[in-house]
């Protein structure tokens, strides 16, 4: 257990009307980036809040770097940093003041405080705007400032709740790069939540897929994708009985609802296409087009939960966060 940053066992949280987190167990490696992936309401944020000692679990155990979070909340708070989902910079204070306040609340020694604040602001590219009120910042800058606030204490573990929600794609990419660099630079373990498959895939070393309070599977993104069994080739053909011909040739045909299109599962798409086309040609099947699709975490999610991540609610949430950004910048 020495190199585990987080050990969660049988964690359960029951709110008056809903079981938000249902018997969840997982571990996070030190200096890893672990992502809890799932739709809104899956219980991700509740888990983070329990790990941060903001919410008391109904049952279960949490160890953060060997410290029992239930009995030693203050010690856990001292070694954690937190970037909540909403906008949590104070628009009425400057960037420097926002970081300075947290450096003092965490008890960063006075002798190194000024230097540390300047260093972290420079590291996050905010040094030129440090004196400006943060309600003049862009969404991406606010998020970077929040990370500065969380890192100024040099925490051992950083919790990021939906870090890129509300950001435009360019700012998202920049943020992902920054999070990866920060992990190496500050030797910090990162636990984040996301409903964005792409974010989880690019950013995380390990992913836990959550749905309705349960943790369904935990593994590396590449291994999760390889459990899908390979690539999907979609063939369109007007030849009758094409599906039967494909089955005769030994391919596993899965359903495709569009008429005249057939999905088949192969282990290596690129290498399979020439052989497939030859065989079909010999069998007298005329093929109009072939497309190849690599498995994504979306497919993995679908496989394990039987549903897709509901885009509707997440869009709604994005809109809400955008609104807060706007309210702050007006």
């Amino acid at each position: 257990m020495n190199d585990k940053a987080v050990v969660v066992k049988g964690l359960t949280k029951i709110f008056p009307r809903v079981k938000a987190v249902d018997d969840v167990s997982f571990t996070v490696d030190e200096k890893g980036i672990f992502g809890l992936l799932g739709p809104n309401g899956a219980g991700k944020t509740t888990i983070i809040r329990m790990l941060l000692t903001l919410t008391k679990p109904t049952s279960g155990g949490i160890d953060i770097f060997g410290i029992n979070a239930l009995s030693h909340a203050a010690r856990v708070r001292q070694i954690t940093g937190y970037v909540p989902q909403g906008v949590s910079v104070d628009g009425e204070l400057s960037g420097y003041e926002n970081v300075a306040m947290y450096s003092r609340l965490y008890g960063v020694p006075g002798s190194e405080r000024g230097q540390r604040i300047r260093d972290i602001l420079r590291y996050l590219g905010l040094q030129n705007r440090a004196g400006d009120l943060t309600d003049t910042y862009s969404g991406g800058m606010m998020r970077r400032l929040e990370i500065a606030q969380a890192l100024v204490n040099r925490p051992k573990i950083l919790f990021l709740d939906e870090p890129s929600i509300g950001l435009d794609p360019a700012a998202q990419m920049a943020l992902w790069e920054l999070i990866r660099r920060a992990r190496d630079e500050f030797d910090v373990t990162i636990l984040l939540t996301t409903h964005d498959m792409n974010e989880a895939d690019i950013l995380c070393d390990r992913i836990g897929i959550m749905n309705r309070g349960k943790l369904i599977v935990t593994d590396e993104p590449s291994r999760l994708k390889s459990t899908m069994g390979g690539d999907v080739l979609t063939i369109s053909s007007t030849t009758p009985c094409c599906a039967d011909k494909l089955k005769e040739l030994g391919y596993s045909v899965t359903s495709n609802f569009t008429e005249g299109q057939f999905d088949i599962l192969v282990s290596n798409g690129e290498r399979s296409i020439p052989h497939l086309l030859e065989s079909l040609n010999e069998a007298g099947v005329k093929v109009q087009s072939v497309s190849i699709k690599k498995p994504t975490l979306d497919d993995v999610f679908l496989k394990y939960t039987g549903t897709r991540i509901e885009e509707g609610s997440s869009w709604d949430e994005t809109r809400q966060v955008r609104r807060t950004f706007r309210r702050l910048t007006e």
Partner: protein, 256 residues
């Protein structure tokens, strides 16, 4: 956590709350509208008609401490709205995830409301001097008034945060604040002496912290009679301490 670290957290919270004010000083100006009305219009008229017997002192002298206390009450009683706002934005989540004890956060914020009230008081005292109210300004009386205002600000801003932690929305905190300020004001000695009140109102005024605040400030600024000052300060101090402690316990309820 030792006392030094605890106080350092309290003062950090206070300092940054006050820094926000520096960025937007217009708030103080807006809050002067009501006191100006009370002093210049209400005070002016009642001084002229001598409707309320205030002994050896003019009515304007009599109500200046009352208006001071009322304006501090107004600054503090709506303080909880700001806390609900911070909760909505996620600022409070982050604050409560730091090692800062809840009571230090509550006390720090309450203290900032007290200090903020001093700026308000300075403006009102200046106004009183401009319109020619005869008040005693010695280093002792000014320091005494400031100390009382800080305690009083802590008292009602923590009450407001306590209300916020129970009722949880800005609208309700606003509504409750409005519902209790005027009764507190009228059931005190702020604009008329307690001796004029019917018995039932006298009974309320005795448990009303506002009466003790006005009495203390009136002694310091107008009458020079400090015989009840220790009791006044003790009463305000106890009210503030109790409210800070109670609010610290319920503060968590703002989350979840």
């Amino acid at each position: 956590m030792n006392l030094k670290r605890y106080l350092s957290i309290v003062f950090t919270i206070t300092e940054f709350e006050l820094r926000k004010l520096r960025h937007d000083p217009s708030q103080i100006g807006l809050r002067l509208v009501q006191p100006v009305l009370w002093l210049v219009v209400f005070g002016g008229v009642f001084t002229r008609i001598r409707a309320i017997p205030t002994g050896d002192y003019s009515y304007l002298q009599f109500i200046t401490p009352g208006v001071l206390a009322q304006s501090v009450l107004f600054v503090s009683i709506f303080y909880g709205i700001a806390v609900v706002w911070e909760r909505d934005l996620g600022l409070l989540d982050k604050l409560l995830a730091t090692p800062a004890p809840r009571s230090a956060i509550v006390l720090g914020k309450a203290l900032s409301a007290g200090v903020r009230s001093i700026l308000q008081a300075v403006a009102i005292i200046t106004l009183a001097l401009i319109i020619g109210v005869d008040i005693t300004l010695t280093p002792l009386s000014v320091l005494g008034v400031f100390a009382i205002i800080i305690l009083f600000g802590i008292c009602f801003s923590s009450l407001s945060m306590g209300i916020a932690s129970i009722f949880r929305t800005r609208e309700r905190v606003m509504g409750i604040g409005q519902a209790i300020t005027m009764p507190l004001f009228f059931a005190s000695n702020a604009i008329y002496p307690i001796s004029l009140m019917p018995d039932w109102l006298k009974a309320i005024s005795i448990v009303n912290p506002l009466s003790y605040v006005v009495d203390a400030m009136r002694g310091l600024l107008v009458t020079g009679d400090l015989s009840s000052l220790p009791l006044d300060i003790l009463a305000i101090f106890i009210a503030a301490a109790v409210l800070v402690v109670l609010t610290s316990f319920s503060f968590r309820r703002l989350l979840s």
